[in-house]
Symmetry: C2
Subunit: 133 residues, 2 copies
Amino acid sequence: MSKLDASVQKLLQGKNFAFVSTVNGDGSPHVAPTWIDTDGDNVLVNTNVGTVKRRNMKRDPRVTLALTEQTNPYNLVIIRGRVVEEISGPKATDQLDRLAKRYMGVEEFPDRKLASKQVTLRIKPERVFTRKA
Amino acid sequence: MSKLDASVQKLLQGKNFAFVSTVNGDGSPHVAPTWIDTDGDNVLVNTNVGTVKRRNMKRDPRVTLALTEQTNPYNLVIIRGRVVEEISGPKATDQLDRLAKRYMGVEEFPDRKLASKQVTLRIKPERVFTRKA
């Protein structure tokens, strides 16, 4: 049985943007919008190896992300969790291509050079807060 | 002359939600969506005295917020800054009422008890990143 509620999974599988918050090396907060995904139990963030958020998560695996439904911004989920795995190589590129299909309506992510440098970060939720509009 | 570009001010004055990121007492990241405003030079966040983000900003004034345009989520601004002032009392309530008009289309914020416990946090931008879709 999946650890994430069906309503939360639906938000994570929709054409919605997650605002992923991490902590910088100097202790200041960082936040950036990203495409988002789930395997049913965990949140999946696909990001380039060179991004600030990936560097921050390497240093401190604690992540909090907030997501509102694109068609109804009062429908909200906030997830606190921890990065438990980083996946690179073809599996990460495949996941990016699935996201490109969902968000861009294309068969694969257009920039193949960029696509080859993506990683999938698996985030295990520790607390989930939802507000239904 | 205003310190924030016209395009950034427009995003901050639209019916858009800002994802405000702060750092918790245990060093983990916090993020929450909020209504947003500007005085032309600074970002204004109206929040209840009891919220986690306000408590976090009292401890550490560093804030990063990301905002995408509701009608075009690829139109993005990310602002790093610092809380330089907290305003309470009628001025904060008035600002909340202006936000309620913009976001809810009402003359004043419906919950007057809650409205009386709001504060306006003035955030001075230190870095502004924009991506135009």
